[in-house]
Amino acid sequence: MHKHQKRPWTFYVLATLFTLFVIFLYGPMISIFILSFQGPTGGLVFPLTDPGFHWFGALFGQARTGDVGGAFGRTLPLALAVMVATVVISVAAGLAFRRRFFGSSVLFYTALASLIMPGLVLSIGILVAFQFLGLPTRWYSSAFGAHLSWTLPFGLLIMFAVLSRLDPAYEEAAYDLGATRWQTLTQVVVPIVLPGIIAVSLFGFTLSYDEFPRSWLTTGPQNTLPIEIYTMTTTVTSPALYALGTVTTIISFLAIGLALGSIGYIQHRRRNKKSF
């Protein structure tokens, strides 16, 4: 209806602001992607000389850059485990929060408090707790828990938003037709809220995969990738650092693409089905 209206002048001002912001957001990232293809004699800044894959090879080849391969081998399984646990726990809790139960407010605000808890403080607490119990800190135990305390509030908030829009009539219809609680959950509720579950997975995976402050004191003797990168920023002064940045960012982008792509695909299919 207002398709033919002239755009106000503020549109052009704000469109410029938005464009500049996007350049500000992605420009630096793009510059290190380019610099990671620096030749063997190239430096940390432009110009790009003799471009190639030299520093990507150096990343996994030399001992000088630390145990990058090993760090990948720990960070990926950790992120996947955190993702699965985040989905299961958030969906279950999201379902619980549809009704008021004793302690629901306390639990909800504790989860929110987790969101504003400084990561370093949590890191100290978990380290001391493990020492207190006589347990060693490991990436698969203490860091796993530390990451969950960061991903779960996001998971819970997404499930809150998604489940509040779920019409209870669907479940009632399923019960009326004789479905059990489990059947209703797996065959009615989960398929409907699937896009939300994918979003929770995306948060679970990427937040764990990139987490630094909460990992700082909780990973134990074997580093995860963000800690490896942090150490490299002080010790490695070659474009290998940029190559590592490029590799990790590509993995993040793959996860984001996969998640957003499948959400988009599901929504698209739903729209098409509704049309007849």
Binding site: A93, A96, P118, L120, L122, I124, G125, S149, D210
Partner: protein
């Protein structure tokens, strides 16, 4: 019938257990350790002393750290709030196609799912002495000496914070703004309100919750940061958390714990102050 009433408890139990084990209990231990004594070569010595807090409150360096953190927080909050508001406003009220608006919104949020450390480091080849910005400015004749404060200064720290945290402002403001009934805006325009009056008297009050939530995020993120300030100031600036980080480096866990408690108390007070004005639960479900 009785067993059905237990179901919400079973569903919420895993969350409660994780939050107890990895949030509440560790936090309680930090509080306990903060009154312990630190003994050289021995480590933690159980005690009940306030000397760690005393050492923090009487140390002039700590006040400087708090002041510096406060300065960064205020500047970053102001910049991200203005940027976040106008970007959300652009997406909600100026982009006509909903699909394009969602697409552009995602463009703003994608960096959230990538590594903060990498995003921070990626400023280095641009801002250094021989970086892209200095080279371009020298080549074009604007300056003849490289600008040194572009990298490793308070400027760089603020730039990195704005770069990393603006989306925490955009998302909640966008969320509240998208729910504003467009007919309210039309009614205000029909009643003769100017564009600015509509923004100030209709739109801003209706996204108060979003602005509040975004502010809580930004304040907490800046106050609990230690690595951006360490890396991007080149060691010239510090924050409260870098004080904690330093104590951990010299293995003084009790003072690190006491420092953490002070930091946490301040963060919680600010967050509670902001959240008093906004109802989070309503915002999420309503």
């Amino acid at each position: 019938m009785k067993s059905r009433n237990l179901i919400p408890y079973l569903q919420a139990a895993p969350l409660a257990i994780v939050l107890f084990l990895f949030l509440a209990a560790p936090l309680a231990l930090v509080l306990v350790v903060s009154v312990f004594r630190n003994k050289l070569f021995v480590g933690l010595v159980p005690a009940f002393t306030f000397e760690n807090y005393f050492s923090i409150l009487t140390n002039a360096v700590n006040y400087q750290l708090y002041l510096s953190t406060l300065k960064f927080t205020v500047i970053v909050l102001a910049v991200t709030m203005v940027l976040g508001f106008w970007i959300a406003y652009f997406l909600v009220f100026h982009v006509r196609s909903l699909l394009i608006a969602i697409g552009l919104f995602l463009v703003c949020t994608v960096p959230f799912w990538t590594s903060n450390i990498i995003r921070m480091i990626s400023w280095k080849p641009l801002l250094g002495r021989e970086g892209l910005v200095n080279t371009a400015l020298i080549n074009s004749g604007v300056i003849d000496q490289p600008i040194l404060w572009l990298l490793f200064s308070d400027f760089t720290v603020v730039l990195s914070y704005v770069h990393l945290f603006t989306l925490f402002m955009i998302v909640p403001i966008f969320n509240s703004m998208a729910r504003i009934d467009k007919s309210l805006v039309e009614a205000a325009v029909d009643a003769g309100a100017s564009r600015w009056k509509v923004i100030w008297n209709v739109i801003v009050p209706l996204c108060k919750t979003g602005i509040g939530l975004g502010s809580v995020f930004v304040v907490t993120l800046v106050m609990s940061d230690f690595f951006v300030v360490a890396v991007m100031s080149g060691g010239l600036s510090g924050s409260v958390s870098s004080g904690v980080f330093f104590d951990l480096g010299i293995l003084n866990y009790p003072r690190a714990a006491a420092n953490s408690i002070v930091l946490l108390a301040i963060v919680v007070l600010i967050a509670a102050g902001i959240l008093r004005v906004v109802d989070v639960r309503k915002e999420l479900t309503g």
